[in-house]
């Protein structure tokens, strides 16, 4: 049975009539046509689908749409106003922190969630918190550089 679910998505209120058990990832990609969040494993094992729910990083493939009712969801599309780049996105570009780019939205959202909680974070801690996000192209080294660069910018307050 479909149900009406309301939540905040990238700063705007949405109301949808959907099957409540569907994954947030699927609803984002199909119903809302936000395809920046990627499917990589469907089991919470790769991080390609990472979004923020009420400021916490979540694997959207493992979160039901019902469970985000009334909450704030942030996806890669909402990280910066249109035409602008968030310091993390800017740093990923500048540090060339991507190759094929498939893991990139998930990496950026994970890093955003991590830095949001603790902008003073050490490199060891960043590595620990990013460990569940997989990249097959081996962009890791540059991703870490980008996260550190963005952390510095974010600490200065933006």
């Amino acid at each position: 049975m479909k149900k009406t679910i309301e939540f905040m998505l990238n700063g705007e209120a949405v109301s949808l009539s959907v099957l409540p058990s569907r994954s947030l990832l699927s609803v984002l990609r199909q119903d809302l046509e936000l395809t920046g969040s990627k499917y990589g494993c469907g089991k919470g094992l790769c991080g390609a689908c990472t979004v923020l729910v009420d400021g916490n990083t979540m694997r959207s493939c493992r979160v039901s749409i019902e469970s985000v009712a009334g909450k704030k969801v942030l996806t890669i599309e909402g990280l910066a106003p249109a035409g602008d780049l968030h310091p993390l996105q800017q740093a990923f570009v500048e540090e060339d922190a991507l190759q094929c780019g498939y893991c990139t939205p998930g990496m950026i959202m994970q890093a955003y969630g991590v830095l949001l909680k603790d902008p003073q974070i050490t490199r060891e801690e960043v590595i620990r918190r990013m460990e569940g996000n997989l990249c097959r192209c081996g962009a890791h080294k540059r991703i870490l550089q980008a996260v550190e660069k963005a952390a510095a910018v974010m600490r200065e307050g933006r």
């Binding site: 780019g101 590595i127 192209c137």
Partner: protein, 726 residues
């Protein structure tokens, strides 16, 4: 009886070639094609890059290739430059390096250049994107085409300005008269004109010394799209009325479907069922409901009782190996040279490895009257065009393949099963159909890097010279199997090819995996060289230098050793240092690693890796450095943890919980040295650095502990067992 080869046979053969011995771009004799009309006004230069040609030179009979030019360049009425090639962008950065080459030669800003890649209606035929070939083969011809276009622009400007050609040069998208300072822009020159040229190779290309863009670090041109989530991969595309398909899969390779009860699936509202003898699928406009319908199918399969598993596979491979083919030979490898020490003989094993790209295979197919359009994650769009046409029984010209961004390939997206499924289902459903594989399907249908065995005999004399080398490789393939040391008596024999092995060889499909064959071969060769060095009581770097006569290889090794800060010591020195050398896609590499080994658990951590590389003219050093880092990081997986476990045709590792690929904490300190070789033609950069990872890790483990590993991956368990043996 002569048998006509089909295009698909041709693709198989092309995949196997090791394109290293190219001379120059051949003369072009292209004829004008219908679609050239589409390009309207502007300057159009047709280019022949040498990959198709190399194949022809290989002395094999080939069927008629669809075109004899395979890239072109256009300068439009707005003065903007577009390069067209059938290659695709899958993360290797070709989209940037090719644009850079064009911008450089034509004196335009980089953002005036656009690359159109892989669209089978717009781009000329291409065999596929693999083998580190894009920059290597398309760089020089694109440069020559740009030079040709520039010559045309100068001619036009000379006429327009009424000055001598010699007085003119180009700068910033315009032709300038050096004496009067008068300028005329490319846009003004091209307006209303239509010029078609074939590349005759006469135009002067810029000398490396005057390059301003090529050879300078440049950031990727596709990165903004990729960091904002706007970049479209195949599974991100939508067409009105499209359906998502889920396909009934067998539990094991070679399992036969006995029966399938579709009644429950049929009851789900809006589900469309396609039932063909070899394809049962459920389709719905919502992929979650398609999933549900698939789960509602009750199917029984007859599972074959093959006993082969990941443990017994090596004996199996040796037992089915065909006659060997001698790849290289010199001296008298059969008879043991008198002055040699005893012969050292070892067998090296390598398991199956998955491509595991983060993007699973996906394809969207649409049939509109006669016209079929397929958007797919593919490294071989033109092969797919032929495959789709033959699956539908229609002429190939009705099929257009348009690859969007591809989320990693590494050879795994050279096969297009998902796209053929999508197009067949689109035909059956009468609507656009998306087939996007789950991670489990991805692991099941991947074309794995083949498991392989290498047997080596080697000996040295009392002075530390290698006197004998007898190398036999089973099913890894020939690429990288030839040794490059100065050995008087040597032989290299390949038993079975890399991936087109006969039925009954591998329990599932195998295929090209980043630097195919070479990872296994380099692991075996460089491990054995290290063993000989240890026997001779010599430092592994010194031992290699002593046995090399190839100056280029020596230079690369010395560069790596210098950057690493290598000091000579006989292994095992306890330091955990390992060195290895290799050649791939024309590029020479030397890598050195430092590892730590946890003796009680066998866990290996790689702390630092230095890579020195001679790749000829390096078009985009930033891009090449990134590729080296990617190779080193990815290589740690096959060296330390990645292997596909299976029982009969059943694949046991179907997701990232048990199939372990490298993560952030694994990444060592990486340093790369790209040797300056500006005047040499560019060589491959997407693969070479990965080939040495197995050997540097094995050699470093030996140096740290005295335990020699003969099997990849070098899991904690295997390392622990090896430690117990010493």
């Amino acid at each position: 009886m002569k048998q006509e080869k089909t295009m698909l046979d041709l693709y198989e053969e092309l995949l196997e070639l090791n394109f290293t011995d190219l001379k120059e771009v051949p003369q072009l004799t292209a004829n004008r094609r219908e679609f050239l009309k589409l390009f309207g006004t502007g300057i159009l230069i047709l280019i022949a890059a040498p990959d198709a040609w190399a194949y022809q030179e290989g002395g094999r009979r080939r069927p008629q290739l669809p075109d004899d030019f395979n890239a072109f360049l256009r300068i439009g009425e707005d003065g903007k430059v577009t390069g067209f090639t059938g290659k695709i962008e899958m993360g290797q950065g070709a989209i940037t390096s090719l644009a850079q080459t064009l911008a450089e030669e034509l004196d335009v800003p980089l953002d005036w250049v656009e690359m159109v890649m892989g669209d089978t209606d717009l781009c000329p035929w291409d065999m596929g994107t693999f083998g580190s070939m894009t920059t290597r083969f398309f760089g020089p011809p694109f440069r020559a085409a740009a030079a040709e276009a520039k010559a045309v622009l100068i001619e036009m400007a000379a006429e327009k300005l009424g000055t001598a050609k010699e007085q003119l040069s180009t700068s910033d998208g315009a032709v300038v008269d050096r004496q009067t300072g008068k300028r005329v822009t490319y846009a003004e020159l091209v307006e209303g004109k239509k010029v078609l040229r074939r590349l005759d190779g006469k135009a002067e290309v810029e000398k490396p010394s005057v390059f301003t863009i090529v050879g300078k670090p440049v950031l990727r041109s596709d990165s903004v799209e990729k960091v904002t989530g706007k970049a479209k991969f195949s599974a991100d595309l939508r067409e009105p009325g499209m359906l998502y398909a889920r396909i009934l899969r067998p539990p094991a390779h070679d399992a036969k479907l006995l029966n399938a009860d579709l009644s429950k699936a049929r009851q789900i509202e809006g589900v469309l069922i396609v039932e063909k003898p070899d394809l049962i699928a459920v389709l719905h406009e919502n992929p979650d409901i398609a999933d549900e319908a698939l789960a509602a199918i009750q199917a029984r399969f007859d599972e074959p009782s093959s006993k082969i598993n990941d443990q017994t596979i090596f004996d199996h491979l040796l037992s089915v190996a065909p006659e060997g083919e001698v790849v290289a030979e010199g001296g008298t490898p059969e008879s043991m040279p008198a002055e040699s020490d005893e012969v050292v003989e070892h067998t090296y094993l390598d398991g199956y490895v998955a491509h595991a790209t983060m993007e699973p295979h996906a394809a969207l197919a649409k049939i509109d009257g006669e016209k079929v359009t397929i958007w797919a994650s593919t490294q071989t769009p033109f092969r797919l065009k032929d495959e789709a046409a033959s699956a539908l029984g229609i002429p190939a010209e009705n099929v257009r393949v348009r690859p969007p961004f591809v989320g990693g390939g590494f050879g795994g997206k050279s096969y297009n099963q998902q796209a053929v499924e999508a197009v067949r289902l689109a035909q059956a459903a009468g609507k656009p159909v998306m087939v996007s594989w789950t991670r489990e399907e991805e692991f099941f249908y991947d074309t794995f890097r083949p498991a392989a065995v290498v047997k080596i005999k080697g000996a040295t004399d009392s002075s530390g010279r290698i006197t004998l080398w007898d190398y036999g490789v089973y099913f890894a393939g020939q690429r990288g199997s030839q040794q490059f040391y100065n050995i008087p008596n040597h032989r290299t024999t390949a038993f079975g090819s890399g991936w087109t092995a006969g039925p009954g060889t591998h329990p599932f499909k195998t295929g090209a995996w980043r630097a195919p064959s070479n990872n296994t071969n380099t692991f075996a060769r460089e491990s054995h060289i290290d063993t000989l060095a240890a026997r001779a009581g010599m430092d592994p770097v010194e031992f290699r230098l002593k046995n090399l006569s190839d100056e280029k290889m020596k230079r690369v090794l010395k560069a790596a050793a210098e950057r690493f800060g290598w000091t000579p010591a006989k292994a095992p020195s306890g330091r955990g240092y390992g060195v290895a050398l290799g050649i791939d896609a024309g590029t020479y590499v030397a890598l050195i690693a430092e590892v730590g080994v946890e003796k009680n658990t066998g866990r290996v951590s790689v702390k630092r890796v230095v890579c020195a590389q001679d790749m000829g003219l390096c078009v985009n050093p930033e891009g090449s450095t990134i590729q080296i880092e990617g190779c080193i990081t990815m290589g740690l997986g096959y060296a330390l943890s990645e292997e596909v476990r299976f029982e009969g045709g059943k694949v046991k590792d179907l997701n990232f919980d048990t199939y372990k690929i490298p993560r952030f904490s694994w990444v060592p300190q990486i340093e790369s040295v790209i040797l300056d070789a500006k005047d040499d033609p560019p060589q491959g950069g997407g693969e070479p650095a990965i080939i040495c990872i197995g050997a540097i890790v094995a050699n470093a483990i030996f140096d740290a502990t005295g335990a020699r590993l003969f099997e990849m991956p070098m899991t904690a368990d295997r390392v622990k067992k090896a430690l117990e043996r010493i």
